[in-house]
Amino acid sequence: MNHRLEAGLATVLLYGAMAGVLIFFYVPIFTLIAFSFQEGRYLTLPFDGFSLKWYGELFRSAPALDALWNSALIAVAATLFATVIGSMAAIVAVRYRFNGKRMFLALIGTPLAFPQLLLGIVLLLWFSVLGRWFGFNNGVVTAIIGHVVYIAPFVTVIVAVQVASFDPVLEDAARDCGASIWEVYRYITIPLLWPGIFSAALFAFLLSWGNFYITYSLAGSTRTLPTFIFSGISIGSTPLYPAIATIVFIPGILLVMLANRFRLRAQKL
């Protein structure tokens, strides 16, 4: 086959596929953003007009703000715990060799491939049974725990990549210079792992912020943004929901760009 033609065909195929995939990914996102500007009450086309009034509505809607608050609270808490626990596990997974390491890796890695809904259900059962015995209800705390279980393995994977490129001899050198264990962590280990930890933390935040399945099962009657939106999905809803969606998108895109900048900086080291 003519090489020139072949190469040209391949290029068209590849670029076309990538472009197609990207367009595919952004169809619903742009649809939502577009609909948030709908003037009228209904989510149908053509629009009655363009306006920002539903954004205003959003800030006056108590349940929406409540859901926003819950999402933020749970996300911050889950990020904190998942990042700390997951980062430590990453150091263990990459650096150390010990008895039962295979089981350890399986244990911390399985939640990654476990369908979220089922994870949520399994945890729901567990917490409900425990709740009966110990007298507590599902709510924000159980949602946080559920998020951490699901998110910590992601953190571990991301930080592990950073740990792998970190030469432990640097820690030896620091000790030789006179550093105590804490000083080694403070001046060497954490600064060098920080890009990985930071991007993992951002990733964790976004995973928690956008999580539906686990929150749905575990938050009890508390609502976060995703579950709140779920309750409002139907054509009969108002453009309030697309407005919420757009608001949710914004921190997402900012954080993703931030995480990427850190990842690039980490690679340069």
């Binding site: 001899v169 050198a173 006179g178 550093a179 105590s180």
Partner: protein, 367 residues
Amino acid sequence: MPEASILDIADVHKAYGGFAALKGVSLAVNRGEFIALVGPSGCGKTTLLKQIAGFEDVTSGAIHIEGLDMAGVPAALRPTSMVFQKLALFPHMTVAQNISFPLKLRKVAPADIAARVHEMIRLMDLKPEYLTRFPKALSGGEQQRVALARSMISAPKLLLLDEPLSALDVKLKKVLQAELKRLHRSVGVTFVHVTHDLEEAMMLADRICVMRAGRILQLGEPADIYYRPADPFIAGFIGDTNLFPITVTFRDASGISWQSPHFTAIDTHLPHAMVAADVSPGPALMMVRPELIRRYNEDESADFALSAVITEVFTKGGTVQYRARSTQGFDLAIELQGTSALPMRLDEPVRLGWQKKDIWVLRQEAV
């Protein structure tokens, strides 16, 4: 009497599970000397160095620095500084921050730190503008100097070097070897240098400690190691050497009597000083270094002589190396300076000889 030995290693063993890395090593290092630990990989030299530094513990035995027992003392608290094989410069800190790190940990005042850092870069011949750069931006040789500066800034009692020059190319290596020697002379700190390159050790060290399979084979000055090795392994560790099989027929306090079919000799008695202490009647080896053999004319008198044919000629710039096969079937190595001696040619039959003062008799078996 003031304690001259700054480092005392007493019967140190190190075992990893079933594997014995060090099998009873004892060594006393003098204050201010430059001592090299040399040996092939796996001989335990790096393990010993790490034990001195405090990164490995001692399975049995003791290490004393300036008379103080180092058992249980972690690396951070020992008066030692190490230069790592991979340099281990902190990539996220500038050169200045790297060098000043030990002082910063000791909470020295910033003004004093700055003064010391400048002192160090002058000592190491580094340009001041490098201070704000990151290690990545410096060349291999410059990074070495930064690593040395960082190790020296805390005025350690012992400087431990873990094969720091092994990854460098030949030219740079020679430059830095000279630097190290100069540094040692000007600073006066005790250096313990680990290397697998005996030539490097001979160039740098006051004393050399040859190790193999977890034991010390020989400890002595470079000339001792080179001209009077304790066993054939050490003899062969540095380039070529000639080890003629001989039979020792008699040994007493004055020396030995020997015989060998490989060459003719004026007399077959050797004084005590030319024989290793552990040689006893029986098979042994007589060593002559290649540069001490030359061609003798038929009418010249040589203490030892044999006939051979030149089998190979290698020219190496200012020296020429020859291989010759003797009439007894022994392969010799000869090294001559440029054009001073009579040149020899390939396939030429020659009479080779050497003098009595240049030989050494050692035992036949290596450890």
